[in-house]
């Protein structure tokens, strides 16, 4: 008898949950956006709509592939650079993706590290920061270019910097190989190392570094990958190669550091709900929240004209 009663209770809970799901929203996003999504935009949207927000962050490409293979469903996907969106477009899950924010590459440093004072005295106007990063013994951290757009972007930034300041060979000197195990970590591992003071400096997006309240060095537009206007003329002059899954070389090019959002066609809570969330991201209130968490304004147009 008790068993029956509990079953009925459980069943009731399930029914209630699905009834409430009508005005829920499930948002998937690139891992680095955790703070602004789960603490800023998500709760604000939920309050405005009197609904329930659920956010899920992960490496942007992995998330895009899980969505594309329908192993995961969501109403909205928000990601940096057009790359992950292309995967969803190919899978026929989105029509277009619109810019909602932007950011730039910066060099974050450990405020208690032995190079902190030297970093604080520098700016990106001359090449001294490159020399400092190349100091023997300095521990520099970055994410993996094999699976993370940010890991690719720091390689581009260093390649652009050696051209911009006319210091050939400097990028290689700092990196010691594109996938140098002494520097490369997964996102979480790098953050842990930076915050626990086990690296002296790390490549990051201005948005996440500011969200984490870490000191950082800003870089000029010519190398920080933030300006879509520089893309064709200047950013595209650098590239590098990585092995693909068959072991062949594939050449990578820069992509603007713009955050895009798209509604998924198989949105479990309806495309309208998804669109409402994206409208909110682009509204003055949404943009102000982005800014509060260190993001810059949306730049450029939708990915597909």
């Amino acid at each position: 008898m008790a068993f029956l009663r509990y079953s009925a209770l459980l069943l009731g809970m399930g029914l209630t949950a699905s009834a409430l799901a009508g005005n829920d929203i499930h948002v998937t996003y690139a891992g680095s956006m955790g703070k602004v999504m789960d603490e800023g935009l998500g709760p604000a949207f939920a309050r405005q709509q009197n609904s329930h927000y659920q956010g899920q962050g992960q490496g942007a490409y992995g998330m895009a592939r899980l969505l594309a293979s329908k192993k995961l469903t969501a109403d909205v996907f928000v990601s940096i650079t057009p790359g992950p969106m292309r995967i969803l477009k190919q899978a026929g899950l989105i029509d277009n993706a619109v810019p909602v924010a932007s950011t730039s590459m910066v060099i974050a440093y450990n405020p208690k590290g032995k190079y902190a004072q030297q970093f604080a005295a520098l700016n990106g106007n001359d090449s001294r920061w490159l020399d400092l990063l190349a100091t023997p013994g300095l521990k520099f951290g970055r994410t993996d270019p094999v699976n993370d757009p940010k890991g690719q972007n720091i390689v581009f930034t260093l390649l652009l910097a050696e051209k911009f300041y006319q210091k050939p060979g400097m990028a290689e000197k700092i990196m010691g190989g594109v996938q140098n195990p002494a520097q490369v970590n997964l996102e979480g591992g790098l953050l842990t190392r930076l915050e626990s003071g086990q690296v002296d400096a790390a490549a990051g997006y201005e948005s996440e570094v500011r969200s984490a309240h870490l000191p950082y060095l800003s870089l000029p537009d010519a190398i920080n990958l933030s300006n879509p206007a520089e893309a064709k003329q200047w950013y595209d002059t650098v590239s590098f190669t990585l092995k693909d899954s068959q072991g062949h070389d594939k050449t990578l090019h820069t992509q603007p550091l713009v955050y895009y959002a798209a509604v998924l066609k198989n949105a479990p809570h309806g495309e309208q709900t998804g669109q409402a969330f994206i409208d909110f991201l682009r509204s003055p209130q949404g943009q102000q929240l982005f800014q509060q968490y260190g993001y810059a304004a949306a730049k450029g147009d939708a990915i597909w004209p």
């Binding site: 992995g62 094999v146 195990p181 002494a182 997964l186």
Partner: protein, 260 residues
């Protein structure tokens, strides 16, 4: 040999079915005609197996004495040791990885000491082995301790009365009598070391074993590449626990035959 009652089998079915569902699904999902490794998969398999074997040795060597002592110790010292084993057991692997970075990183006290000797524990084989060691040791100690605890005290007492040294009691009495349970402990440690992802992803991203490669395959090629590597992971890692279970059964049989 006596058969277990049929009712037990029927009652086992829900558990068996639940456990089998994802893998029956996996059989259906795998593209058998396009079954091929992604670039670097074979490296990942070799890394996991070779470094995993090293970790397993270290786990056994360091864990056996602790488990044996724990099985016999009494009072406060035992409580303290139990806590020292239980705390890492309860710590989620991700948090464990974060702690290891702080404890063994190049600017930590331990790390700077090692650095003076020219040793670094950052994304290298030593760091990978250390991560698996931390992951598997508490499981091994818990299981091995239970195995030692099953050895009748009277036998050890008899050994002592007959003048056997602690080493002889361990080597000649406890170890053989507990071997079935110890085999299970070894199997558990191996499984834990092979599947270790949480600690590794934070503390030792390189060299990349199978779990990290599964993650990268998902990022770069999607779920199909995950299925292929998962099959190989199962193929290469199953023999160790299967061998351990076979050993357990053989021991059980021998003991039954020895009984009057």
């Amino acid at each position: 040999m006596r058969r277990p009652p049929a009712t037990a089998l029927w009652l086992s079915l829900p558990a068996l079915l639940m456990l089998a569902v994802p893998f029956v699904t996996l059989i259906g999902l795998t593209h058998w005609t396009h079954f091929r490794l992604a670039w670097g998969d074979s490296n990942a398999i070799a890394t996991s197996l070779v470094l995993g074997a090293v970790s397993l040795m270290l786990v056994i060597l360091s864990g056996l004495p602790l488990a044996w002592w724990l099985a016999q110790a009494r009072g406060k010292p035992r409580l303290v040791a139990e806590l020292v084993v239980l705390i890492p057991l309860l710590t989620p692997p991700l948090a464990m990885g974060i702690l290891l970075v702080s404890a063994w990183g190049p600017y930590s006290p331990a790390g700077s000491l090692l650095a003076r000797g020219g040793i670094a524990l950052t994304n290298n084989p030593a760091a990978f082995v250390l991560a698996q060691w931390y992951g598997a040791l508490p499981y091994f100690v818990m299981a091995a301790r239970a195995a030692f605890a099953d050895v009748p005290v009277v036998i050890l007492e008899a050994g002592r009365t007959l003048g056997a040294s602690p080493w002889q009691r361990f080597w000649r009495l406890s170890l053989p009598l507990a071997s079935s349970g110890l085999a299970t402990a070894v199997a558990l440690a191996w499984v834990r070391a092979m599947g270790e992802f949480g600690i590794v992803m934070i503390f030792a991203y390189f060299p990349q074993g199978m779990p990290v490669k599964l993650y990268n395959n998902l990022q770069n090629d999607g779920v199909d590449a995950v299925y292929v590597l998962l099959w190989l992971l199962l193929l290469f890692t199953l023999p160790v626990p299967l061998a351990c279970f076979a050993l357990t059964r053989r021991n059980a049989q021998n003991r039954r035959q020895m009984l009057p």
